[in-house]
Symmetry: C3
Subunit: 434 residues, 3 copies
C-alpha cells in the first residue's frame, strides 16, 4: 500500500506546469469574460448615443410639422427637454425607476448614488453586462422621450414656461414611477406584463400625457371651424422627413440597446424586426391613405413609419419577421384612421403624436399577446391589457392633474395675439428664418 | 515491466486537475470565440444602421437638388424606396442574391427562410462572423440603394406610381441577380471580378438603371433650349450638403461593413482609404471646376466627394492611402467633366447621379486593376471590364425594357401641366414649405 | 533514490495532455486578447465616424447662423476644410503631431509612413489598443476641427481662397505642433498639463485662431454702428439646432474615443459626464440669458450646450457627475456673458465660436485643476495655466502672422460690394435657396 501511495506522486515540475496551465486557463477565461463585457457594455453606450439622436429626430419632425411662426419655440422646447430629462433623471429619476438595484425606493437625493466621485463601482461593477454609468446614460436618454412626445402634441399654443414645468415634473416623477412598475421589476412585471423596449412604458406614456395636454389646451385657433376641419400644414416637409429617418436610425439603439447586451442573436433579430416593421408601417399608411384620401400623403407615410416603429417596440425581441410585417403594417393602417378620428373628436395634435405614440403604442403592446413568443407567464392578453390600463390611467390622471394645476396657476395657453403672431416673435423675439 | 506500468500512474486528484485545466482552457476558448463573434456581429449590425442613414443622405441630397415644387415628391419616393427595398429583399431578394448559402437558386417564396418564428438558426448560427439576421439586415439596407440612385436622376418628371413599380421590380429581381453573379459566388466571381463593396454591383447598377430612365423620360421642360443649356438650380444647398455628409457617414458602414467582420486591420484600412478618397474627390472636383468654370462650384464639390466615395468602393480594402488619394482625386476630376458631357448629350440628370454612380463606379472598378493589391486571380483588367460590361448590359437592358413596358402601359412622364406646376401640388396636394 | 526518481515519472499520455492543456490555455488567451483588441479598435474607428459627423454639425450650425446670402460660401468652406484636414494630416500632420511614435520629428514626406501599400504593420500592429490606421483616421478627424471653428468666426466677410490657404497651413503645421506638446508626449505633457480630449489642444486652438482672424478682418458691415450694436440674425434656426445636436452626437466619439480604448468604466463615465455637462450648459445659458435679456434665447441655449461640451472636454474622464453639472452649468453661464463682452469689444463673431471654443475651452482646462481627479503630477492649476498660455500664445501669434501675411499678399476681406450682395452670388454664382 505504501508503495502505491508513492507511485501516485507526480514530479514538482509537472505539478507546477499543471498549476500554470490551470492558472493560464483561468486567466484566459477572465480575459474572455472581460472581452465579452467590453463588447456588451460598448453596445449599451453606443445605443445611448443612438437614442440621443432620436431627440434630434423629434426636434426636426416637430419643427417641420409646425408653422413657420412657431419653429424657434419648438426647437427651444426640444433643447430644454433633453437637458431637463438628463438632469432630473440624474437627480432622482434613475433611482426612482430602478429602486431595487441601487439604493432603495424613492430615494430623492439619490443623486449621490451617481457619485460625487467617479467610483470604481460605477465604472466597473458588472452588476449586469454593462457598467452603472452605461446603464444610467442609456436609461436617461429614454427618460426625456416621453416629454418630447408631449411637446409635439401641444405645440403652437402652450406657454413655454408652463410646458417646461410640466416636462420637469413629468420626467422626474411620473415616467420613473410607471417605468418602475415594469422595468424596475415592479408589480406589473410580476403580473406578466411584457414590454420589451417601451411601446407602453415610453411611447404610450408620452401619448397619454399628450392627450391630457391637448384636452386642457384646446385646439389651435382656426383648426375646427363651423365649415369643418381646416388642415394646418407643417412648414417644412424636408425637416419632417429628416426627423423621421433620424428617429428610425435612433430606434436601432432604442430597441437594439434594450436587449441589454450585444447578444448576437437578440440584437440582430431586433434590428430586423424593427426595420421591417417600419417598412411595413410605411406601406400600410401609403395604401390606407391612398384609399382614404386618393392621395400620396407624405405626412401619413412619415407617421406610418413611426407607427410601425412604435408598434414593434413592445415585442421586437419575441416576434418573427412575418410577425413584424403584420404588426408594422397594421400600425401603418392605424395612422390615417386614427389621425382622422382625433380630428373628428376635435382633439388637435399638430404632429400626430397621439396617433403614433398612444394608439400604435397600445396596438404594439397588445400585439405581443397575439404574436409574441414570450417566456413563460409573460405577455398574455390579460397582462398586456392590465399594463396598458394601469400605466395609462396613472399617466393620464397624473398629467391631467399636473396640467390642470399649471393651468390655474401659471396658465397653460398663450394669448390669442401671441398664437396669431406666433410664439417665435412673442416669446423669443426671433424668427426661425430671416 | 509491471512495476514501470505502475510508475506511470498518476493520482486521481492530479488527473482530475488536468481534466479541469483542459476543460477550463476549452471553456475559455469558447468564451473568447464568442467574444470575437459578438464583436464581429456587432460591427455588421452597426454597419447596417450606418447604411440605413445613407437613405436619409440620398433623400436630403436629392431633395436639395430639385426645385421647390418637387420636394415632397422626392421625399415621398425615398420613404417608399426604403420600405419597398426592405420588404422585397425580405420576400425574395435575399435568397435570390445568395442562393447557395440558404435554400437554393431562385427560391421565390423564400420568405419563410427568414422565419415564421425567430429560429435559433437565424439568431445564433455562425455560418459566418455574424448571424443570419445581421447578414439579412445589412444586405437589405444595400438593396434599396440602387433604386434610390435612380430616383434622383429621374426626378421632377416621372410619375410616382410608375416609379414605384419600377423600383419594386428592379430591387426585387434585377439587383439580386447581378449581385449574385459576384457576391453570391456566381460566375463573375469565379472569373476573378473584384468588387469589394459595390462600385459596380451597387453604384453602377443604380447608374445604368438611371440612364435607361433618363433616356426614356427625356429632359425636364426648358432644360435644353434652342439658346443652349439652361441650368436648373436645386432649391436648397444646405439640404444637399447635409445629404452628402450623411452619405459619407453612412459609407463607413457601407465599405467598413463589407469587410464582413470587425477585423481590426481590414476595417481601419477601409475607413482610411474611404475617407481619404472622399477628401481627394472634393479636391479634384474643386480644382477641375475652378479651371473649367472659373468658379467655386459647391454642387461639383459635393458630387466630387460622392465620386471619390463611389470610386474607392470597389477596392477600398486592397489599396494603400496613396492609391486612395489618386483614385479619389481622379473621381473628383471626372465629376465636372462627366456632368458637362451628359448635359451636352442632352441627358438630363437633376442630381448628377449618372456621373457619380455610373461613371465613377466604372472608374473605381477599373482602378482595382491598376492599383489594387488583390488576392490571386482577382482584379485583372480583363476581369474588371468583364464585370462592368456584363452587369452593365444586364442592368441597362433589364431597366430599359422595364421602363419601356411601364411607359406603354402606365405611362412614365407626368403631364406638361403637372411638370410646370410641380409634382408636389399635383400628386401630393402639399407644398414642401408653407 | 533511483526508485524515487522513477516514481516521479509521468506517463507520456498525461504529459501530452498537460502540454495540450497548456497550449489550449495559451491559445484561449490569445483569442481573448484578440477579442479585446478587436473591441478596442472598433470603438476607435466608430469614434472616428462620430467625430466626422461633427463636421456636418459645424457646417449646419455655421450655415444656420449666417445670413441667407452667405450660406453656399460657408458650406463650401466646410466641405473643403474636411478635405484639406484629412489630406494635410495624412501628408504631414500626423507625423508632426506624434513624432516619437512613428518616424521622427517634423518628418515632412512622412506620407510614406502611411504606406504606399497597406502594410501589415499599419493594419495589425498593436502598438496600442488599436491599429495604426484607426489611430490615423481618428486623429485626422480631430485635426480639421480647429479650422472649422475659425470658419464660423470669420464668416460672411473673408475671401474664400484666403481662408483656404490659412486653413491648410494652420491644420498642417500649427495644430500638430501644439498638439505634439501635449498628446505627442511633448514638454507640456511632461510639465503635468492635463487635457483629456482637447478643451485646449483642439477647441481653444480653434478659438485663438478665430480671434486673430476676427481682429484682422474687422466686423461685418453694419454690425457696430453709431447707434449701437445691431444684431445680425442667422438665417435658419432649424439648421443651427440640427448642427448643435449633431455636434453633441459626435462628441460621444470625440470624448468617448479619447479614452483610446473601449474600457467599460472609462468610456461610460465619459459618456455620462459629457452629456450631463451639455445638459447643464443648456440650463446655465437658459437661466443666464433669461436674467440678462428677459428672453428665451435659442441661440444662447444652443451655444450653452456647446459651451458645456467644450468645458467638460479637458476633464471628462476625471470628473464625477456632480463635477460635470457644475462645469457644464458654469460654461453655460459664461456663454451669454462672453458673447455680450465680445460684442462690446466690437469683435464680431457671427456664430459665437470664440465664446464657445476659446472662453469655455479655457474654463474647461482650468476646471480640471479645480475638480479633476487626475493621476499624480497632472492637472495642477499652474500646469493648466501654463498649457493654456503656451498653446494660446503660439497659436494666436502663428495665426495672426499667417492671417497678416495673407492679408498683405492675397487680401483677407471681400469687397464692400461683395459683402453687401453676399458671397454666394459673388464667389459662387449660386443662391443657397431658389
Amino acid at each position: 500500500m505504501q508503495e502505491q501511495e508513492i507511485l501516485y506522486q507526480t514530479s514538482p515540475e509537472v505539478l507546477a506546469k499543471l498549476e500554470a496551465a490551470t492558472a493560464a486557463a483561468t486567466a484566459a477565461q477572465e480575459s474572455a469574460d472581460l472581452a465579452q463585457f467590453m463588447t456588451n457594455n460598448m453596445w449599451i453606450f453606443i445605443s445611448a448615443a443612438l437614442v440621443f439622436i432620436m431627440h434630434l429626430g423629434f426636434a426636426s419632425l416637430e419643427a417641420g410639422f409646425v408653422r413657420k411662426k412657431n419653429v424657434v419655440n419648438i426647437l427651444f422646447k426640444n433643447c430644454m427637454i433633453i437637458a431637463i430629462g438628463l438632469l432630473t433623471y440624474c437627480l432622482i429619476g434613475f433611482d426612482l425607476m430602478y429602486p431595487g438595484d441601487f439604493n432603495g425606493w424613492f430615494s430623492i437625493g439619490a443623486f449621490t448614488s451617481l457619485g460625487l466621485e467617479p467610483t470604481a463601482e460605477g465604472m466597473t461593477a458588472a452588476y449586469a453586462d454593462y457598467t452603472y454609468y452605461s446603464d444610467f446614460i442609456f436609461q436617461a436618454m429614454f427618460a426625456a422621450t416621453g416629454a418630447t412626445i408631449v411637446s409635439g402634441a401641444v405645440a403652437e399654443r402652450i406657454k413655454l414656461p408652463s410646458f417646461l414645468v410640466f416636462a420637469t415634473i413629468f420626467v422626474a416623477i411620473s415616467y420613473p414611477i410607471t417605468g418602475a412598475w415594469k422595468w424596475g421589476a415592479g408589480w406589473l412585471d410580476q403580473k406578466g406584463f411584457y414590454d420589451f423596449a417601451g411601446s407602453t412604458v415610453v411611447h404610450s406614456v408620452g401619448g397619454w400625457a399628450a392627450l391630457a395636454g391637448i384636452i386642457l389646451l384646446g385646439p389651435r385657433a382656426g383648426k375646427y371651424t363651423s365649415k369643418g376641419i381646416r388642415p394646418i400644414m407643417g412648414h417644412s416637409m424636408p425637416l419632417a422627413a429628416i426627423g423621421v429617418f433620424l428617429l428610425w436610425f435612433g430606434w436601432f439603439g432604442f430597441n437594439g440597446g434594450s436587449v441589454l447586451s450585444a447578444d448576437p442573436g437578440g440584437v440582430s433579430l431586433v434590428f430586423t424586426t424593427t426595420s421591417i416593421a417600419a417598412a411595413a408601417g410605411a406601406m400600410g399608411a401609403f395604401i390606407t391613405s391612398l384609399i382614404m384620401f386618393k392621395n400620396y400623403d407624405l405626412p401619413m407615410v412619415l407617421n406610418g413609419i413611426l407607427g410601425g416603429l412604435v408598434g414593434i417596440t413592445a415585442g421586437a425581441d419575441v416576434m418573427s419577421v412575418t410577425d413584424a410585417i403584420i404588426v408594422g403594417f397594421i400600425a401603418g393602417v392605424i395612422i390615417p384612421i386614427s389621425v382622422t378620428a382625433f380630428d373628428k373628436a376635435k382633439l388637435d395634435d399638430p404632429v400626430g403624436a397621439t396617433s403614433v405614440h398612444l394608439v400604435c403604442g397600445i396596438w404594439g403592446t397588445l400585439a405581443v399577446a397575439i404574436f409574441g413568443d414570450c417566456a413563460d407567464n409573460y405577455g398574455s392578453f390579460g397582462a398586456q391589457l392590465l399594463g396598458i390600463l394601469a400605466i395609462g390611467a396613472f399617466t393620464f390622471i397624473f398629467s391631467f392633474i399636473l396640467f390642470y394645476i399649471i393651468k390655474v396657476t401659471m396658465g397653460l395657453r398663450v394669448s390669442e395675439e401671441e398664437e396669431e403672431k406666433g410664439l417665435d416673435i412673442m416669446e423669443h423675439e426671433l424668427n426661425a428664418y430671416s
